[in-house]
């Protein structure tokens, strides 16, 4: 769906390229309340909030580094580590929960060997749970790289993940 595009790593700027950071800082100069917006833009540009980026932001925009980390860790939207090639988001809203989203999370944990919030050591997968994606009619929902997979079951999840783990496929050919 159009809401979220591809998350592949090539999309992001390398963290040692500080030009985008500079542009973002300039855009919000003078607006002390804009940190969350700055984070969102940095996130879209670099894919996550790297330590170096945070230090540069603190230096250039006049924030305390501790203040920045205080904010970045408070809000669940922000990642402090780079994401994997594929982002698997399992919706764990109430509607999904009563339709066995937990079973999907367990299955993903088993297959990928990582827990929600983690990225696999080979940087292939990032597993996340989200509070609600608001497509409750499709519950339980899994969103892989922005593509919605609705009415999932643990066995469908097994099949879906297999396409990525075995063939390195794109998940396009599942039922």
């Amino acid at each position: 769906m159009e809401a979220e595009n591809c998350h592949c790593t090539q999309r992001f700027a390398p963290v040692d390229d500080l030009r985008p950071l500079e542009e973002i800082v300039e855009k919000y100069r003078g607006d002390r309340s804009a940190v969350i917006s700055i984070f969102h833009e940095l996130h879209e540009t670099y894919g996550y909030l790297d330590e170096k980026i945070m230090e540069e932001l603190a230096r250039r925009a006049g924030y305390q580094l501790s203040q920045l980390y205080g904010l970045a860790t408070f809000y669940t939207q922000f990642r402090l580590e780079p994401v994997g090639e594929h982002i698997i988001k399992i919706c764990h809203g109430t509607a999904c929960h009563v339709r066995n989203a937990q079973g999907l999370i367990d299955e993903a944990e088993r297959t990928l060997g990582i827990r929600p919030g983690q990225t696999s050591p080979d940087r292939k997968f990032t597993l996340e749970t989200v509070n609600c994606v608001g497509t409750c009619a499709l519950a339980p929902v899994v969103v892989v790289d922005g593509k919605y997979h609705g009415r999932m079951t643990p066995s469908k999840m097994q099949k879906l993940l297999k396409q990525y783990t075995e063939k390195g496929g794109t998940g396009e050919d599942e039922d």
């Binding site: 769906m1 809401a3 979220e4 917006s37 408070f74 509607a95 339709r99 609600c132 919605y148 609705g150």
Partner: protein
């Protein structure tokens, strides 16, 4: 086109209406986030193509709109003036649908909605049970509006309420109108909107600056009505806020919107630009001398930001943590100035009240709860979707008449309202009226309008644990009762679900619940024990089953269930053994298989794989 007077707005509105009247037909495709997940955009593309091919561009007004509500049946197509409604439309059949419905003035049987009980075809949308009992004052506009086209809103007399307020009413008269309408906040507790506005209007500001905020940080998991309103009809929010700003004396507004709602955000930003361009927002609105503009603040994903003081902190660029009240935001809010916060649904009701008249609005609903309320009806329900109903309707009507009951002939167990702050309502209360007081009276609340239906396969202890885990993670950590209390409650609930509960645990839960309720700083903590308290009150026997008999009656909690195969039903196809991640299933080909309980991890992958429904949890 700049609108410089109410008369200019009237003229422009007439022009737009005339233009629209030239089209004999209108086809509307739902483009809400829910339907987009069902590939409705392909349906719309096919429709555009088909209209071109059949040379109908002069005949048909095409609309890709916000949410139509019936998410279960997406993608949806709605033909007017015929009223023909098609569900679960496949893009490849769109041309056939256009030809049959418009050119041949008929129908395509295959896509007509069928009554699930009688199997009978239903020709017109308004006859579908899901829509029939609804009163869709707000959501009903969505199918007429392309969210990024301001003319669609103006054609529905949009911004005329604002014109009336600015040129014909004093601020106090506006507040009185909202008061007579009996509007109460749709975001949670149901505080009377006019009273809130008046406090803010009368509060002194050091430099005369006051703010209004639209809370669009819908945080309840399982609720998405605010998103659908903002996504589908952003101008109604803008108009409502402008009216509120005039009444309160605010010059600046903020919409605090969830980052997870990109479509709503985009539509809102476009709508704001359009409103400014037409002089419906900004300096000297419509030549009235009144200045008001709206900024957008994007959230960072924190449930606690639903709390007013936390939301304000977040807009100020700080951690979204609440502070003690008083002073209330109406007196001292954003940057220390008087601030009024309402949520999306409340703001959208404001122009409606002015347009239809407060008395007429007050005719809908009950004595103390006026107007309609939108619920997201989800979970174990046949017709998942957004429903807008008059206050005072019963839960039974919503769940059975509109929602079509529980799938798979399962028994209804509970309906959860009010999100993580609300409670689980059992079958014995299905006939209560839905209004603010009645729901509170049985330990739940209206909340923002999540309505999650649960059946016999839902474990109520597990649900309590689920909400407690959510709240424990979302607690901002500022005050001890909430930070530590939710954690302790979660530990106890986890213990019970793991089969290690003791009789003292129930008492400990109740003591903790009382303390957290009494001592927490904000409503997140103050209401956090509700899911536990209501499940203890109505489903205590389930807790006791877990504790005394080490059984999970709903067959959910992994530590307390055994997976078995019914030898009568098993045909020995071996599909289960193939998917079992721990190789716990064995058996000869075409012979009944068995599960080794020692190896089994109760993941249930086998259960949903089995086509014979031979595998069950006990």
């Amino acid at each position: 086109m700049r609108i410089d007077s109410p008369a200019a707005l009237d003229r422009y509105c007439e022009e737009v209406k005339e233009k629209k009247a030239k089209y004999p037909y209108r086809v509307s495709v739902c483009g809400g986030t829910g339907c987009q997940a069902f590939n409705c955009l392909e349906v719309y593309e096919a429709l555009v193509e088909s209209i071109k091919e059949n040379d109908l561009e002069e005949e048909v007004e095409l609309k890709l709109t916000g949410c139509h509500g019936f998410c279960e049946m997406g993608p949806l197509m709605y033909f007017q003036p015929m009223g023909t409604f098609y569900a679960k439309v496949d893009p490849k059949d769109v041309n056939d649908i256009v030809v049959a419905t418009i050119l041949q003035e008929g129908e395509v049987d295959k896509y007509l909605y069928r009554d699930p009980v009688s199997g009978e075809k239903i020709h017109h949308r308004e006859e579908i049970p899901f829509y029939k009992k609804q009163v869709r004052l707000l959501l009903g506009l969505n199918h007429l509006i392309r969210p990024q086209v301001i003319d669609d809103y103006i054609a529905l007399d949009g911004y005329k309420a604002l014109a009336k307020v600015l040129f014909e009413m004093t601020p106090e008269e506006v507040i009185e109108a909202v008061e007579r309408a009996g509007l109460r906040g749709r975001g949670g507790a149901g505080f009377p909107t006019a009273r809130k506005w008046r406090i803010c209007r009368e509060a002194p500001s050091p430099d005369g600056i006051k703010y209004i905020i639209c809370n669009a940080d819908e945080g309840d998991p399982g609720a998405y009505m605010d998103r659908s309103l903002l996504e589908g009809n952003p101008h109604a929010v803008i108009e409502g806020m402008a009216i509120g700003a005039y009444a309160i004396g605010a010059c600046e507004g903020y919409v605090y919107v969830r980052h997870e709602y990109p479509l709503a955000l985009r539509n809102l930003l476009v709508a704001l630009d359009q409103a400014r361009e037409m002089n419906l927002l900004g300096k000297d609105i419509m030549g009235s001398g009144f200045d008001f503009d709206i900024k957008v603040a994007v959230g960072g994903g924190a449930f606690v930001c639903g709390e007013e003081t936390a939301l304000i902190a977040s807009i100020e660029g700080k951690r979204g943590m609440p502070r003690p009240r008083p002073p209330y935001p109406a007196v001292k809010g954003l940057w220390g100035r008087p601030t009024n916060i309402n949520n999306v649904e409340t703001w959208e009701n404001v122009p409606l009240i002015i347009r239809m008249g407060p008395e007429k609005f007050a005719e809908i609903g009950t004595e103390n709860s006026k107007g309609t309320k939108i619920f997201s009806l989800v979970g174990k329900i046949n017709n998942t979707g957004l429903v807008e109903v008059p206050m005072g309707i019963t839960l039974r009507e919503i769940i059975y008449d509109i929602g079509g009951g529980i799938p798979g002939n399962k028994a209804f167990k509970a309906v959860q309202t009010g999100g993580p702050s609300g409670g689980c309502i059992p079958a014995e209360h299905l006939d209560i009226q839905v209004d603010f007081e009645s729901l509170q009276g049985i330990g739940s609340m209206m909340g923002s309008g999540g309505m999650i239906v649960m059946d016999e396969n839902t474990c109520m202890v597990d649900i309590a644990k689920y909400f407690m885990k959510f709240l424990c993670e979302e607690s901002c950590g500022k005050c001890v009762p909430c930070r530590v209390g939710t954690k302790r409650m979660l530990e106890i609930l986890t213990k019970i679900c793991d089969g290690e509960g003791t009789p003292e645990d129930l008492e400990a839960l109740e003591v903790l619940a009382a303390d957290i309720k009494a001592a927490s700083l904000c409503a997140l903590g103050g209401t956090a024990p509700n899911p536990v308290l209501t499940t203890l009150r109505y489903f205590r026997h389930e807790y006791e089953e877990h504790i005394y008999n080490k059984k999970c009656p709903a067959g959910v909690c992994p530590a307390l269930i055994t997976i078995k195969i019914d030898p009568e039903k098993c045909n020995g196809c071996g599909a289960c053994a193939k998917v079992c991640p721990v190789n716990a299933i064995s058996g000869e080909k075409k012979q009944p298989h068995v599960v080794d309980p020692e190896l089994c991890i109760r993941c249930k992958v086998c259960m949903d794989r089995c086509r014979q429904e031979a595998i069950y949890a006990e």
